[in-house]
Point group: C2
Chain length 158, copies 2
DNA sequence: GTCGGCCTACTCGGATAGTACGTGTCCGAGTGAAACGGG
DNA sequence: CCCGTTTCACTCGGACACGTACTATCCGAGTAGGCCGAC
């Protein structure tokens, strides 16, 4: 799995804490985690294309969450970066060479079915957890997290 | 996910139907599915390293299942090809730059925990399905599958 | 007829190129804000 | 003092190199089986 997924998921709770009315430049988020600014920008662009965040150009521009953090799931973020297609691609090799029984389609590919079943379990688990859940868990362990984030992103502004 | 996973998983039920006392060369399996022989051989080598199949050299050599198909899970095969490490790698970016609270470790990374939870659901689902289950499902839909496989792999031998 | 040795053909196994995708970087188009000047 | 215009700095967005890992291939080491000859 791409490393950009980790960056994108980490960015979201910060955007949530900073509120929906405030835009954060990719460069500032990158500085927060010491990441390559241009490359993090690329990942945020992918989030924007997927409708997870909304971009704003010009001065005081940046990215903000497109909807309340309760409505954004980990599945949304992962799908935005990795793509919607399933990881296991069935190329129907059972219909090739000596294994071909002649009839196309017919019974579904048992292996494809099994792999998809596992992948659906993964997707279901990711879809059951929202950015708000992540933010809550973090604040539960360190209650000053949101305040620290707000201060850090506010300091360099003044 | 690598395409080799599909090839490896498809190969296993065939090895199961052909019995444990009979070895099948990689080249013959490749011909069965019209795959690059040398490359399929590479995947089978990975299965051998993981202890899923046992290789045999020399004439009448090849690969056979290392244990009964009921004891081989999809997880075993996928892990043999893709590796044991989890897909989402947490690089602890939360402890870098302005996000660093000073204390290493401390509370577990909430994002890592959530991603791992989803991945465990995936692994559990894969581990719950054996090669024997796959073979049974296939035979349920087309009862002559095992017989056809045995005949095809036997024909070129005589 | 049987046994031992040799030879051959066949198999895996790892080392070696080619290619697609993820990683990282750069510069330009567009925009919003702020500064400036005139009314 | 207020408003319109201009300028400017800042942001995203897509186009451009680089590295790694998957894909594909080839050739050599090793082995099991079969053949041949001697006993």
């Amino acid at each position: 799995m791409s490393e950009g997924v980790e960056w994108a998921v980490h960015s979201c709770p910060n955007l949530a804490w900073l509120g929906e009315e405030r835009a954060v430049p990719a460069a500032k988020l990158a500085a927060f985690y010491e990441l390559p600014p241009a490359y993090l920008n690329k990942q945020l662009q992918a989030l924007a294309r997927a409708g997870v965040v909304t971009p704003t150009s010009g001065s005081r521009g940046g990215f903000r969450l497109a909807r309340p953090p309760e409505k954004i799931t980990l599945m949304d973020v992962v799908a935005a970066i990795e793509g919607e297609e399933e990881a296991f691609r069935c190329t129907e090799i059972r219909h090739r060479g000596g294994s071909d029984s002649g009839e196309r389609g017919g019974p579904p590919c048992a292996i494809h079915t099994s792999m998809r079943k596992a992948e659906l379990a993964w997707r279901r688990e990711l879809a059951s957890q929202s950015i708000a859940d992540i933010a809550s868990t973090v604040e539960e362990h360190s209650p000053d997290a949101s305040e620290r984030v707000r201060r850090w992103f506010g300091d360099t502004r003044a």
